[in-house]
Symmetry: D4
Subunit: 168 residues, 8 copies
């Protein structure tokens, strides 16, 4: 994609317990050789660091932010309030509710401060969305995404055929 290894994507999460889900985003970015950095940064436990991270992200060369948080999930919104970079929010299931609390807290943002929200626990898709966003600027990434789609389609078809063999 480009020679330097300066991170293009910042993955943030509100708590270390979110790591297990959010690592899936990191894995996808690695598959696409997109340099990234990963941080635990809570909108509530360390609001200043969270705001600072967002404020300086663009000048540090970060181009997309991914934020995963559960319950009253303010992390993505707190980042979006402090940067004009695209911020992708991953609502995480935690606590007793099914993640609907995090979904509402992430997606229902007021006019002017959007968060690009993906499915509950949808860390993988956050990374795929980051790839799509970066593909606008980096044409070779568009090609890689097309190849990935094609490969998935074929593997998907093959698995399907093997699994339902002899069913009809």
């Amino acid at each position: 994609m480009r020679p330097t290894k300066r991170p293009l994507v910042g993955i943030l999460m509100g708590s270390e317990s979110d790591l297990q889900v959010m690592e899936k985003a990191a894995q996808v970015l690695e598959d696409f050789s997109i340099p990234y950095e990963m941080r635990i940064s809570s909108a509530h436990r360390d609001p200043e660091q969270t705001a600072d991270y967002a404020k300086h992200a663009r000048e540090r060369g970060i181009e997309v932010l991914i934020a995963g948080a559960g319950m009253a999930a303010h992390l993505a919104g707190a980042l979006a309030a402090n940067t004009t970079l695209p911020v992708i929010g991953v609502p995480l299931k935690s606590g007793t509710l099914d993640g609907v609390d995090a979904l509402y807290s992430t997606v229902q943002m007021p006019p002017g401060i959007p968060v690009a929200t993906v499915a509950i626990d949808g860390a993988k898709n956050a990374a795929y969305l980051a790839c799509s966003i970066l593909s606008v600027k980096y044409p070779d990434l568009a090609g890689k995404l097309e190849q990935y789609r094609e490969k998935t389609r074929k593997s998907f078809l093959n698995t399907g055929k093997r699994k339902v063999k002899g069913k009809s």
Copy 2:
């Protein structure tokens, strides 16, 4: 309650459209002669001012914060993240949902950063709760609250009698 008029309660709201509901909190505080100040301060549109307000509230003599916000309502949480004063959250109905988005965004806070949440659009109760909290420190306020309760009870009984007169 005390001679000076320095505000004891700070009422904040995320948008000027929240004023109509939040003014009911101000009215209750006036009924109890509790000095307050009212501000529009958005966790998303002006995160820095919001954080600063919370950080300096205690040293300015503020003792309770009330925050009303709708949708992905982060205001109360953003204040609570920046002060150890008690923060009361009022989830407001706005947008197409019934205020459940604001309720979840306000009440489902992570351990360590609590928000004292009242009913959807419950601005009045936010003020009554502020009175209860202040009554721990100011004994005369406890008395006023008891009188208010007693008065309400009686007026409530009288209205009830008048309304259902002749029904049994």
Copy 3:
């Protein structure tokens, strides 16, 4: 905080099965050396005792009440109806629903009788909120809360760094 060990906080719960969650509130209060008492008292199984507890709480020196209950969770509301002290409600998950029944039954109180509601199963935050409320009256508690926040922030940052080491 003060020499005597007279309880400042009363923790009540609707059923003995709530003890496992509500003990977390007690633990937090112990960490802050705030004297408390803990009671099982059901708004439905023993309404009179529950009302009496609330009515005499202030004169006994109690300054904040915490009430945990599940399903049609009336305990916090029943206490609030009988005292002008601040009442913190903890909606508990029990039965087949995710605790939304308890959340609505606790938070949607009518004007004049507020309950300071925290997250579903949020017993810890109920205690932190009690500390915030008491910190209005007891300045040293404000300091302790600030120290706790600072300590949490640092431990949080260290854990974060250790966990995501080598990820970027």
Copy 4:
């Protein structure tokens, strides 16, 4: 049904604004010539009167209680906690939610203290249910209910025929 006019059914509601809906219950009882009394009595604003009403209802000759309340609707539960008479709960829509808060607060009662819950705003059905309950003791009421059902069925069929005339 019986010579005296001592009320057999007590209709209670939490607020005078509930009267418009709850009067429909009274109307049904009048249609069946069942003596009743109607009271405004709030579980939160006057818990003592509410408890007293329930405690003395059976000895006063009341045989069924109907309670209508909105939001964190505790009225039916508060009555049921203080009497072993059957208590019928009518969850009322009020505030911004669709009455789901009142439904959960009314129906999700803990073991031992049941509330017979009807539909949201279902005041009419509360009265019909009271009639069914009383019909166990008063055989003539069973006959009246059967006649009412038969009459409804016929009128229902006729209306149906008239309305869809010429449609097939």
Copy 5:
């Protein structure tokens, strides 16, 4: 209660998988020495038998019906449509939803055909409610219910004391 053992309560359920929950209703009735019968009878798999059961219940001496069903729970409503006896509905959790489907299908009945709905999986309370209803006709049952309440209250208090011993 009375010499004969003719069942006073009919407990019906929509499927044999409901037996585990609904047996709790039977246990409560046995504790109160109330004769009952238990049937599996589906509103959908055998609508005619279900209707017939309801139509002849009163003449057979049945005085209260209890119906437990899950998902699109029509059993209680189907019984209520065919009898003027009081019908108690127990919404059961089954399938992937938390029992909200059964709750809505049971409680949201149209005017004229009420179902006395208890909590999701609330089989015990269905039986306690049946006792309350029967206590209107059978005064000794009122006494038994009062004794049960008193016994529960005491045992409840003792358990509570033992459990939280040494906590304050």
Copy 6:
């Protein structure tokens, strides 16, 4: 489609207030020249007539049933329990909820007794679905449906072009 005018589709609804929505189903059937009949028949107010209608529908030449009902919407299920013809359920919004009660009561049927459920208030689609079902047997109807789809597509495109003219 066929020479005789014997109805092929039976449209039933639980209450005359449902007529305004359900007439849209009739209109669609008329557009496709499919003979139908329309009845008001309540699963709760006249269960016997409802069961009888379903039992004799096939022998009378009816081939598809459409049932619209609100709240605890049992009509479609009650029909399906009494016929092996395909039954289409239309959950109707009525009462205070948004029709979710009717949706759950209609769609969550137990194994063996399916109801083909369409959108809340989706009377039109119930009729289009009836056409699809009938098109399996009547090939000319398949052609008509294709033509309708094509016509809709074109009119849709034209409207779209006209409306957004000059927008890009």
Copy 7:
């Protein structure tokens, strides 16, 4: 039903993980000797194949489509958009929500493009509904369905009797 073994029903699912639930539909069709075929075909991962399958289904002799999918379940709708055959949608529970996401995505179709939706995870009922639809054209299938209903009813009654034996 008919001599050839050309499939009459096409069962599609969005992912191989849906196979475990959807095989229950296949089993029911086998019990009724209805020839079918089963395919994994994703509306999102291979939209073209999905559209093609639907477009050519009728000319290949397929008469009913069954589609199972989870989350933002578009499969049934994508098929319905490309065929005028009846399409039955099975919303599947997957991810953290209880299948309500799939239910809404399947049932809330716009006018003109209906999907016959069954219960969440209701694969069996999708097959029974397919049988009902086919019974309109194939009279012997109507007989088989009646026999199945009768057999179920009897086995149901017997199980019920055995299970609750000695309970009354």
Copy 8:
């Protein structure tokens, strides 16, 4: 931003009734001088055109897609299935539900095919998000966004001051 007027953003909507809300997205893009085109294109009524639009969008120079749809809102997902460009989904309130159906249908996408979802009826934010995404490639747009934020903040503060004047 760049000399040519070739559209960079494609705004699509599922029905002409969505135009009133979606025009707000167009207005924002005009404010930022971002060339766009607007189309009505239904995933269900014209799936082929919808797929074709997505397939050829990138080669036509489109860089971001915005899709608004209600109910079982498949439009954004259908576009995402046919392009690797970033697709922003706007769930629209339509029908009787509050837009939750559209929210789930838009946001709960399966791995590999993400949709960047904004708030219900959040057309403005869809456009702001498009600007953020484009700002990664076009540095001058980042500057414009910063200016917009600053201007909003100031106007916001001024309005706030004027509105709450004299309140403290």
